[in-house]
């Protein structure tokens, strides 16, 4: 449960969230019982809303676990969309595949087993959304490659960026999380907020979610406006009578 937002607020938000389905709820119970590092349903809903809002067709996830966050993301995809998700642990990847099949997403989820550091050199972009929830020590080393894999206007969403509040001086008296990971995340937060290709906002939901949009789509906007005018003219043109002669 949350340690940053007061529990009562989080319970209230959880009570409002009706986006989960029986498969997700079952997985959440399994995750809690086995103490697996799954996102919460509120973060899951945020992922699905964000991916849906930009019309994502291709999504990359670092850190599959048993496919819980992946199912939240895959739910935003059209039937010809694709989620590529990378998991280090063979057994978790196997369970994730089963869960994707249970949730009806076997046709649009591709679980890759391996070290994300190596695997992201093999996948090809562009992706509309990238969800970074893998090893915290790799957040910064993988950043530039992930930005390169993202389309302009695409979203890089990162979980755990507040790390239980422990990377904020004075917030927690007693540390329970890995301090080295905390330092890695703090460095990453500096980087994504200063990255020239990114525009970043952080939502203090659950363990903290950073949402960064890749810049560059703005410069395409006037071109697309020009194209839209030309396409309108083309569709208005009366070629059909002539062409059918």
């Amino acid at each position: 449960m949350g340690r940053i937002v007061p529990d009562s607020i989080e319970r209230y938000l959880a009570g409002l969230n009706h986006l989960a389905d029986p498969v997700l709820e079952d997985m959440a119970r399994t995750g809690a019982a086995e103490d697996l590092p799954l996102i919460d349903a509120e973060v899951g809903a945020l992922l699905r809303v964000l991916a849906t809002s930009i019309g994502a067709k291709r999504i990359l996830e670092i850190g599959t676990a048993i496919g819980y966050s992946g199912i939240w993301l895959a739910g935003a995809l059209p039937s010809n969309g694709m989620l590529v998700t990378i998991e280090m642990d063979e057994e978790r990847a196997r369970r994730a595949r089963q869960n994707f099949a249970r949730a009806g997403f076997a046709d649009r989820a591709n679980v890759i087993v391996g070290d994300a550091k190596l695997m992201i050199a093999k996948v090809s972009g562009p992706f509309d959304v990238i969800f970074q929830d893998g090893a915290k020590s790799l957040y910064t080393p993988l950043l530039d490659r992930l930005v390169a894999l993202l389309r302009p206007g695409g979203l890089l969403i990162t979980d755990n960026v507040l790390w239980n509040g422990e990377l904020v001086p004075g917030f927690k008296k007693k540390r329970t999380r890995d301090a080295a990971d905390g330092r890695a995340i703090a460095e990453y937060n500096e980087r994504i907020n200063a990255h020239p290709a990114l525009m970043t906002a952080t939502v203090p939901l659950r363990d903290g979610v950073a949402i960064a949009v890749k810049r560059g789509s703005g410069e395409l906007k006037p071109m697309l406006d020009t194209l839209a005018r030309a396409t309108h003219a083309l569709r208005e043109a009366d070629f059909n009578d002539d062409a059918s002669r």
Binding site: S124, L220, M223, L227, A230, T231, A233, L234, R235, A237
Partner: protein, 445 residues
């Protein structure tokens, strides 16, 4: 600035007044003196050119005359493969490229005896009309270095006007031979679609790409065009008499948006052709207003298809304007591409119909004189227009329809910038169009 023609070079060569080495050295000297300023060449092949020149002189001395292009120093747009040399397309995307073969047109030119002095600057991947977006920096107009030489074959046109080559090979997807020819005051021919091989030429939009000559005169363009075809040596060009020439001016749309001085030069030229006995009538291309949208959808979709992988993998290797146009192409729907193909067929029939009772269409080539480098827009009368759209306005139709079209000089603005008129003829009748062009050139001289 009156460059030597191939005709004149050939006469002097065969009269032993001039050697190929002399002519080649003269071009290389102009390059040495002015290329830093004009940036017309991205690669100067001085040693190889001198070697070829010596060989050409030896052949002449031994009585082996390869014909009208024997020993002619030429430049080639750096979009065309020459074996063992990078084809840069003026783009950092092409870093490390080395062509394995000569493009067939290069092989044809070599067989015809041409001496290649170097490869010329262009708008990156030929996707632009100003030559400003080039990995090598902009080529500059020899008439005014603050101005664009036109594009995309800007270096080719500049190289002729500046005496760095007697002729050049360019490519034309929306006007890229005719626009720089007009902006620099030289002749540029886009043959009928498909006549000249485009193999070994980096494509822009395959269904619109043409390869053709830029030259100092219509007669020279004719000689280079025939060499590019790779067939027999050209028969001398027969000028049609101006008297009785039936010329059609597509006024609506094509003459609606013209710089005042360009309009005056064009109307003066029409007046002189009339005085010479040509019949000049107005015709209508009914769907002229649809040309630009049709062209945009075909050209950018085809260009985006060719560039898809490199745009994904190394977007930052492109200049930003070219990258953005390619990305724009990725947003074109297949259904709109198909609509544009229907529009293209309608336009083709309308141009055919306009030519049914005429020897050629006559219209300006460029609505404006060479624009200032760095200008995104230009004033035409009281209206502000985007430079690129205006520059393509009068040429792109014939890329859509495949009709041969040639640009020739027709006077100057008050500050000495060239103006040009364009003639378009029946498909697969490029020689007939050249005959009409020769008659007009003579009448306008």
């Amino acid at each position: 600035m009156t460059p030597m023609t191939i005709d004149e070079f050939g006469r002097r060569l065969r009269a032993r007044e001039l050697s190929v080495v002399d002519a080649t050295n003269a071009c290389l000297a102009r390059i040495e003196a002015d290329n830093a300023r004009l940036n017309a060449f991205v690669l100067v092949m001085a040693d190889e050119a001198r070697r070829q020149a010596r060989e050409a002189d030896r052949e002449i001395a031994a009585g082996r005359d390869r014909g009208p292009l024997h020993g002619v120093p030429m430049s080639i747009k750096d979009l065309v493969d020459m074996r063992g040399i990078a084809t840069t397309a003026a783009s950092r995307v092409r870093a490390g490229h080395v062509a394995e073969h000569d493009a067939p047109i290069v092989a044809h030119l070599r067989r015809a005896g041409a001496v290649v002095v170097g490869k010329t600057n262009l708008h990156e991947f030929a996707l632009g009309t100003t030559n400003e977006d080039s990995a090598f920096g902009p080529a500059r107009n020899p008439h005014d270095e603050t101005r664009s030489p036109g594009g995309s074959s800007g270096g080719s046109a500049a190289s002729i006007v500046a005496g760095m080559a007697l002729a050049s090979v360019g490519t034309d997807t929306g006007g890229s031979i005719r626009i720089p020819a007009a902006a620099c005051g030289t002749v540029g021919l886009k043959p009928t679609y498909g006549e000249v091989s485009a193999d070994g030429v980096v494509p822009l939009a395959r269904s619109l790409d043409h390869v053709g000559p830029l030259a100092a005169s219509v007669a020279d363009a004719h000689l280079v065009y025939h060499a590019l075809l790779g067939g027999a040596v050209a028969r001398p060009l027969a000028a049609a008499p101006v008297r009785g020439l039936r010329l059609a001016v597509p006024r609506a749309y094509f003459c609606d948006l013209l710089d005042d001085e360009v309009r005056t030069a064009f109307e003066n030229a029409l007046g002189r052709l009339r005085e010479g006995g040509a019949q000049v009538r107005d015709v209508e291309i009914r769907h002229a207003r649809d040309i630009a949208p049709v062209y945009l959808h075909l050209s950018l979709a085809e260009a985006a298809a060719y560039h898809a992988t490199t745009i994904d993998e190394q977007p930052d290797s492109y200049t930003a304007p070219v990258r953005l146009r390619l990305e724009m192409g990725r947003h074109i729907l297949a259904e709109d591409y198909v609509r544009a193909q229907i529009g293209r067929e309608v336009l083709r029939r309308e141009v055919d119909a306009a030519l049914a009772d005429h020897d050629a269409l006559v219209l300006p080539t460029l609505p404006i004189p060479a624009p200032l480098l760095g200008a995104n827009s230009v004033m035409i009368g009281a209206t502000k227009e985007p430079v690129r759209t205006v520059m393509l306005r009068l040429t792109q139709l014939f890329n859509l329809t495949g009709h041969p079209a040639i640009s020739l000089p027709c006077g100057h603005t008050s500050n000495g910038l060239p103006c040009a008129l364009q003639l378009a003829g029946a498909r697969m009748q490029t020689d007939a169009l050249l005959g009409v062009a020769l008659a007009c050139e003579t009448a306008l001289r």
